[in-house]
């Protein structure tokens, strides 16, 4: 990107969750459900002396995309690391459940999920985990009718149980700033030691879990610039293509064949991972 292009583009990453949702939906079509004025906040954070936020870090935005009914679920990475507690989790699960219900009644509502999340909010631990299981269920239900589009723009990334949710989506779009992985770097370092995973070595972390690597390893479907218009156009393009022939999460035979070719005795490298998946997926 040259200087002029940089100046002219509208960064997506610089937008907060609410403005990201607005940027994806058709102009003027956005309507927020359970907006901050509903003041539905976490009942659990307050018991622990943690400041709540009046949207609990999740924006539910209904509207249209490409002229068709849609709901955007945008996680706000700036609140508690985008972690999901009971209220935020229920917002996402509940909206996906209603979108699936719409489809069963002949209304073809689609869903787009903006993942900026470390996963379960540990202050609400088991209720966050339960909500994430319900989100998984709702994605699997809805993706039978409409493509469920996941977008990881950055810079928080997508981890924990929500990385599983992302991996259940019909289609995943990432930028260079995105990271996608099950376990957060600090947790792997805590559990497995610094020689296994150095959480402070940022180039190493991105080389394994960054957007570019995930795209080159075929674990996501599109790798795009940080540009709101490009991200929206990419999402629309995938929606127009309809349901994928097979969801990535259903390709167990191919993944197992790839893993059988991995030498587990030597430490994994970004290049080896790309080679295995480019050949086998």
């Amino acid at each position: 990107m040259n200087t002029q292009a940089l100046l002219e583009r509208a960064s997506f990453i610089e937008l907060d969750a609410r403005h990201r949702a607005r940027a994806l939906l058709d102009a003027g079509s956005m309507r927020e459900l359970i907006d901050p004025f509903a003041r539905l906040t976490s009942p659990w954070l307050v018991q622990q002396g943690v400041v709540t936020q009046s949207d609990d870090g999740v924006v539910v935005a209904k509207g249209k995309i490409d002229g068709q009914a849609a709901v955007v679920l945008a996680i706000e990475g700036a609140f508690q690391g985008g972690s999901l507690g009971e209220v935020g989790g229920a917002k996402i699960a509940g909206a996906l459940e209603l979108a699936a219900e719409d489809n069963r009644r002949g209304v073809p509502t689609r869903a787009l999920i903006l993942f900026e999340t470390g996963g379960v909010r540990l202050q609400e631990a088991n209720l966050g985990l339960a909500a994430i299981a319900e989100i998984h269920s709702a994605i699997v239900d809805l993706r039978r009718y409409q493509p469920v589009i996941g977008i990881i723009a950055g810079t928080v990334g997508c981890f924990g149980g929500m990385s599983i949710a992302a991996a259940l989506c019909s289609t995943l779009i990432v930028t260079q700033d995105a990271r996608l992985g099950l376990n957060g770097p600090a947790v792997i370092e805590q559990e497995a030691g610094i020689s296994e995973y150095d959480s402070r070595d940022r180039p190493f972390i991105w080389s394994l879990t960054g957007g570019e690597q995930r795209f080159a390893s075929k674990l996501v479907d599109a790798y795009v610039e940080d540009d709101a218009e490009i991200i929206r156009a990419t999402a629309i393009d995938f929606l127009r293509r309809g349901l994928p022939a097979i969801n990535r999460s259903e390709r167990c035979a191919e993944f197992l064949a790839c893993l059988a070719a991995v030498d587990a005795g030597v430490q994994a490298t970004p290049g080896a991972i790309r080679a295995v998946y480019q050949k086998g997926l």
Binding site: W44, V60, E86, L129, A130, H136, I164, G181, F255
Partner: protein
């Protein structure tokens, strides 16, 4: 019980419940799959068990790794495909004693999140296709491992026993991520039910269909086996009598008031207002 299945609680209960049906040899040592009877009808039982010789070094303590995730997916998908054209869908029983997901460089690099999505998606898909799915928590049900193996069940049954534990993250890591000491974390866990690690507090969240107390949760006695088999049978009857295939049955408890309130408000605000 057979001594060769003596390595972990989950493995012993899997062996007891599947009796003389041998584990299928097409699965690796860490993933046990057997087709055995439940209430006199064919069912598939699945467990992840300790495999100290696992090819992947970070999966030698009973964790769910890359291969385990995808093999769970395969074990469930097999049943769904086989019963595709049948009205009577085979029940699936997940015997749950899983210490955690695997933590490692190789696991992250090759996309363990995708492998666990394979498993979670397969279980959810089986449930939505009409297979009765029952999760039996006999030991640990931790974090991503539980999401991949069991959390998608129509009904969850757990032993009320001190060694049974459900949580999102081990205490040391949870303390590090939340910038608390382990002592502070434990103090909050004592008063905030969703933060607790024990099964009693977990039961108060309304996510379990039933808790049971076998006399010997480590190695089932004959009476214990009958107790659990009859609970599985009742769960099966309950699922078959229920027209719903979603997880809505988990929302009833006092401690999930906010989850219900959010859903009620969403439903109210969902339709386009008349303009």
């Amino acid at each position: 019980m057979k001594p060769e299945h003596g390595e972990s609680r989950g493995a012993r209960w899997f062996a007891a419940l599947t009796g003389s049906a041998p584990p299928l040899t097409s699965y690796p040592a860490s993933v046990r799959v057997a087709d055995a009877a439940l209430a006199g009808e064919p069912a598939r039982y699945i467990a992840v068990v300790l495999d100290p010789d696992n090819r992947f070094p970070r999966v030698r303590n009973g964790e769910i790794g890359l291969v385990e995730g995808w093999e769970l997916a395969r074990a469930v998908q097999e049943v769904v495909v086989a019963d595709r054209d049948r009205a009577d869908k085979r029940p699936i029983v997940a015997v749950i004693d899983v210490t955690s997901q695997a933590y490692g460089r190789c696991e992250e690099g090759y996309g363990i999140h995708q492998a666990l999505a394979g498993a979670a998606g397969a279980y959810a898909g089986a449930r939505l296709a009409g297979h009765p799915v029952i999760g039996l928590i006999v030991g640990k049900a931790m974090s991503g491992a539980f999401l991949a193996h069991g959390y998608q069940a129509n009904r969850l049954i757990a032993f009320s026993d001190a060694k049974v534990m459900v949580h999102a993250m081990g205490k040391e890591s949870a303390a590090r991520v939340t910038l608390r000491s382990v002592a502070d974390l434990e103090a909050f866990a004592a008063t905030v039910p969703p933060m607790a690690y024990d099964i009693g507090n977990y039961a108060s969240l309304g996510l379990l269909w039933r808790s049971l107390a076998p006399v010997n949760p480590e190695t089932p006695t004959d009476a214990d086996l009958r107790l659990i088999e009859s609970a599985l049978t009742e769960a099966l009857v309950d699922i078959r009598a229920d027209s719903r295939r979603d997880l809505g049955g988990r929302l009833g408890a006092e401690h999930r008031k906010a989850s219900r309130q959010v859903r009620a408000l969403l439903r109210e605000q969902w339709p386009q207002p008349l303009s």
